[in-house]
């Protein structure tokens, strides 16, 4: 109720996503910024400290964030909401990607493909992954925690192995180069000129847009739909059932929640999101070998969850931004620092102490691309940083970035008291 935020006169008002005016305004502003992000805006870009991306190097990583958010939300529904640990998320993404390729890709002499439009291959990717996920689900009824994690870990290796078989290659293409994935072009059916062209630079309504800008917008739209979908699943009857299972599966069953059914549903939903995310990721990259869907990809999503915050959709978005863009930031910072080596002042000194330019120089960060051991280069530092961050978050802030955000929020919500 307006003026009485704690008074709920119906369940609908209690379950509202945006319950206050502040939240609605913040959401409107946020969406506007996201939509305008890929453009060069004449006035805004004159302001200090504010830069929209335009068609820059950053647009692709940001698009990757959008795709990863979809896949990460899938894992969060499984691990965070329903409490089922999975290290096989990369496998389900792969299943989604190849379902998409099978349906929407172009057939060649070596690979399958039916050239169907996006409105078929994208849901198809999700459904394909969901079906495989449902096959795995019965295991989760038997196994919990670490054991379930190990079984799902096995899926990743099975997946990569399958991709290498003769049969698998008909889907995945050459083990070294991979195959082409369908583009984001929107067609009604298999017509020559797409209804909305995404994969070419060119006119869109009244403005010019490059491929990157177009695919960013398409992915943004898909992501928003998927986030809304996830949010609705979590706050619905299904979501509450999953949370009950997470908190104590036996207790949940006593309360009348069919454990088997809801675990199957959890895997299906999770895999659906993974499949859609995987298909979009493959489409964004364009060409991928089957070995890309490996353990490292799965672990990256676990990192997103732990850093962002288990069980929270908002946290997942925080975590994805952090994990995907973080390394890029560090890399850029190192490059920038590298350029300061010769300059006077503190930045020069900083660059001298931090960077190792070659043999005989001291500093923990090597500017080389090879990893010859100490000093580590930027990429190795990034990997190490993951590990450190996961440990730090698990120990100090198990709710992740979302937990930090919650703390800040509740500090002001409890104002002027502490409880």
């Amino acid at each position: 109720m307006y003026r009485r935020p704690h008074m709920f006169t119906s369940y609908a008002s209690e379950a509202k996503i945006l319950s206050s005016t502040t939240q609605r305004v913040a959401m409107a502003v946020g969406l506007t910024v996201l939509v305008l992000m890929p453009f060069d805006l004449p006035v805004i870009n004159q302001l200090p400290f504010i830069r929209f991306l335009g068609d820059s190097d950053w647009l692709r990583p940001v698009s990757t964030v959008l795709v990863f958010v979809i896949a990460a939300i899938g894992l969060n529904i499984l691990a965070g909401v329903a409490g089922q640990v999975s290290l096989g998320h990369g496998f389900f993404m792969g299943v989604g990607a190849y379902s998409a390729a099978f349906l929407g890709g172009d057939a060649t002499a070596t690979v399958y493909g039916h050239g169907l439009p996006i409105w078929i291959w994208l849901p198809g990717a999700g459904v394909g992954a969901a079906l495989v996920g449902m096959l795995i689900a019965p295991i989760a009824v038997r196994l919990r925690g670490l054991y379930l994690a190990i079984v799902t870990l096995g899926l990743v290796f099975i997946g990569i192995h399958l991709g290498n078989t003769d049969w698998g290659r008909r889907f995945a293409g050459d083990p070294g180069l991979g195959r082409d994935f369908p583009t984001l072009d929107i067609r009604l059916w298999k017509e020559e000129n797409p209804l909305v062209s995404v994969s070419d630079d060119g006119q869109w309504l009244w403005f010019d847009a490059a491929t990157n800008q177009k695919s960013y917008l398409v992915l943004l739209a898909i992501m928003l739909v998927m986030v809304l979908l996830a949010k609705n699943i979590v706050r619905s009857r299904t979501g509450r059932a999953l949370q009950a299972i997470r908190d104590r599966d036996i207790a949940a069953e006593v309360m009348g929640i069919a454990e088997f059914r809801y675990k199957v549903i959890a895997f299906a939903i999770s895999s659906f999101f993974a499949g859609v995310g995987g298909a979009l990721f493959a489409s964004l990259v364009g060409k991928l070998p089957a070995s890309e869907w490996d353990l490292f990809l799965s672990v990256e999503f676990v990192a997103i969850l732990l850093i962002g915050g288990l069980g929270s959709i908002t946290g997942t978005i925080f975590g994805t931004i952090f994990v995907v863009l973080g390394p890029l930031l560090i890399e850029q910072a190192t490059r920038w620092l590298d350029r300061q080596t010769e300059s006077e002042g503190i930045f020069g000194i900083l660059a001298d102490t931090v960077l190792t330019e070659g043999p005989g120089d001291f500093g923990p960060v090597s500017t080389g691309t090879q990893s010859p051991g100490w000093p580590l280069n930027v990429f190795d530092w990034n990997v190490a940083l993951y590990g450190v961050l996961i440990i730090v978050f698990l120990i100090f802030e198990p709710l992740g970035l979302y937990g930090i955000w919650l703390n800040i929020k509740s500090y002001f919500q409890r104002w002027p008291f502490s409880y």
């Binding site: 003026r3 009485r4 008074m7 006169t9 369940y11 104002w415 002027p416 008291f417 502490s418 409880y419």
Partner: protein
């Protein structure tokens, strides 16, 4: 939505205005407006006027079919909930008499009230309250024919034939309504102003409770004078359907009945039923009432809550809150000195404080949107009121009692005098006098009750020879307009030195400390004043926790020497406000929590002095 089922054949000649006829008029005028809300599984379920009246009609028909006749008593023993109001309205609609009971009433008091009033129909909330009636021996003389219960849980295996559930009762009502569709309207049309509409049992700090008879005329007068008194409200804005009230004090008490039920029917104010006495603070925050009436106990609790959470706050918040409290106390003093009105500097300072702290603070205690607040039913320490005035609330102390339908004096907006209970309502200016000899406040106006039920001798005692109501309160005029209450006549202490002392004032000063729950000053016929003090377990326990003092029970807590020291400090600071002879020389902490069930408190949580005096006689003697 429910307009379709509104009775249309209600063109019978109207009787006098009762709470039922007012409710009916509202249901016809504004059927879709929300009348009441009650929390159910976390959701405040709304009831519109049409739905409310529909239920009242069915209930009234149910009562008729159970044979309730004009002047029959219907007793209600329940926490505040919509059925309380519905049963009250339905009973008055068919010219019955509502008898309310405190939910905390133990079996003995239930027996007393049932026998004294001779109630035929009894509405009990749940198994616990039903048991209190079933426990009564058959020779107790209660005339209860039917016991209607609201919560069906726990009634398996009960085979008393008087029991009927609310649902079954409504079904009976619907049946009766089908065969006699106009019966209730006929009864309403024959209502007379002299009909007794309710018996309000006084709390009885001394003898057994007495049932004060209030008539339709009394109620009507109360609604005219109090509810529709423009001078009470800031800006003269009368209560209306935009106002929200949290109903949380027992509805059987005149204060909550007037503030809730009568506001509901007279002004269309929305009632929100608190879940339970324990959930009041939580509900307050959810409901954020615009009109708020509280007894001093609640104001003290809210005040103590702020102080305790202040001391527990993190460093920066503590600092900000300290500044805010200092500012609030300045604003409070300024406004009090200015008869409750704002001065321009106070407004400016408050505006800044509003942005930083006051808005959030008021939201947290649930009074963010409160435009009018009142304190009554017992004397309150001026410091507490000053604090709330300082954080921008418009709090007015008022005075009334069951026997005058709570129509007596009030602090009007912009004419407030802190420490007084205000001035007589303009309409009854000639109806209040203070007896020169005894200092007793006496009244004569249309709100004065019709007498005690079945106790003509007690009734006679309550009136002077010239027919004025003796309130039993000693007061004095302040500046010729306002009345300052000194104390209950029978509470005045005369020390052996011959000094007249009013204990309430000292007790209230003591109770401003968040650590003191209840205090009782002793000294009648003694050389000096002493006090029995009961500590507030929550706050003292919290304090001990922070001081690293381990404790187990309430008894243990009250015996800790550190706690005694803590209370000593509170007593010392209270003593500073009084002359030496009025200072508390010694005090003892009561080793148990005072309780209604043990006969130490009345149902309204007032101390029964003689009972406590007897019970802790050893403690008292040890001080002399």
């Amino acid at each position: 939505m429910a307009t379709a089922v509104m009775p249309t054949e209600s063109k019978t000649p109207a009787g006098c205005a009762t709470i039922a006829s007012r409710a009916k008029a509202r249901a016809e005028a504004t059927p879709d407006q929300v009348a009441m809300r009650q929390k159910d599984f976390g959701i405040w379920q709304e009831m519109t006027w049409a739905e409310l009246w529909e239920q009242v009609l069915t209930t009234a028909h149910g009562l008729l079919s159970l044979g309730v006749d004009t002047g029959d008593r219907v007793s209600i023993h329940s926490e505040d909930r919509v059925e309380w109001v519905i049963m009250d309205l339905a009973t008055v609609a068919i010219r019955g008499i509502t008898v309310g009971m405190y939910p905390t009433n133990p079996s003995a008091e239930v027996e007393y009230t049932l026998t004294d009033s001779g109630a035929r129909i009894h509405l009990a909330e749940d198994q616990e309250q039903v048991d209190k009636v079933l426990e009564l021996s058959s020779d107790a003389g209660s005339a209860v024919e039917k016991i209607i219960y609201l919560e069906p849980r726990g009634f398996d295996g009960y085979d008393d034939e008087r029991l009927v559930s609310w649902e079954e009762f409504l079904a009976i009502g619907r049946q009766h309504r089908q065969s006699n569709p106009a019966a209730v309207e006929t009864a309403m049309a024959s209502a007379e102003l002299s009909d007794v509409m309710t018996l309000v049992y006084t709390s009885g700090t001394t003898g057994p409770p007495k049932g004060a008879m209030l008539t339709n005329a009394n109620a009507d007068f109360g609604m005219q004078i109090i509810v529709n008194s423009q001078g009470r409200f800031p800006g003269g804005k009368l209560p209306d359907h935009n106002d929200e009230i949290l109903t949380y004090l027992p509805l059987c008490h005149i204060a909550e009945r007037l503030f809730s039920t009568w506001h509901l029917v007279a002004c269309g104010t929305v009632l929100n039923m608190a879940e339970s006495p324990d959930a009041v603070l939580q509900n307050l925050r959810e409901v954020q009432p615009t009109l708020f009436f509280a007894v001093p106990r609640i104001w003290e609790k809210l005040h103590a809550g702020v102080l305790i959470r202040h001391s527990d706050a993190s460093r920066f918040k503590k600092f900000m809150l300290s500044r805010a409290m200092a500012t609030a106390s300045w604003i409070g003093r300024t406004r009090v000195a200015n008869a409750g009105r704002w001065t321009i500097p106070a407004r400016i300072v408050y505006a800044i404080g509003w942005v930083l702290v006051f808005r959030a603070l008021r939201e947290r205690i649930g009074l963010r949107h409160c435009r009018y607040a009142a304190s009554g039913a017992a004397p309150i320490a001026p410091e507490v009121l000053e604090f709330f005035i300082g954080i921008g609330l418009n709090v007015y102390e008022l005075y009334g009692m069951t026997e005058n339908t709570a129509v007596a004096t009030v602090n009007l907006d912009g004419r407030m005098k802190l420490g007084t209970v205000g001035e007589p309502y303009p309409e009854i200016a000639d109806g209040i006098r203070i007896d020169e000899e005894s200092g007793e406040i006496q009244m004569d106006h249309p709100g004065v009750f019709a007498g005690y039920w079945g106790k003509p001798d007690k009734t006679a005692e309550t009136f002077t020879s010239d027919g004025w109501l003796r309130t039993g309160d000693v007061g004095e005029w302040v500046d010729g307009t306002h009345i300052k209450l000194i104390d209950r006549m029978k509470h005045i202490i005369i020390t052996s030195g011959g000094k007249n002392v009013s204990p309430s004032e000292i007790e209230n000063a003591l109770k401003t400390s968040p650590f003191i729950n209840e205090a009782m000053v002793i000294g009648d016929g003694r050389k000096y004043l002493t006090a029995l003090i009961s500590i507030e377990q929550d706050t003292v326990g919290n304090w001990c926790l922070k001081q690293n003092i381990p404790y187990t029970t309430y008894r243990d807590l009250s015996q800790k020497s550190e706690v005694v020291m803590l209370i000593q400090k509170a007593v010392d600071s209270a003593n500073e406000k009084f002359a030496r002879v009025e200072g508390i020389k010694k005090f003892r902490l009561i080793p148990k929590e005072l309780d209604h069930e043990d006969g130490e408190l009345t149902a309204t949580q007032k101390v029964k002095r003689s009972a406590i005096h007897d019970r802790f006689a050893e403690l008292v003697d040890s001080m002399y």
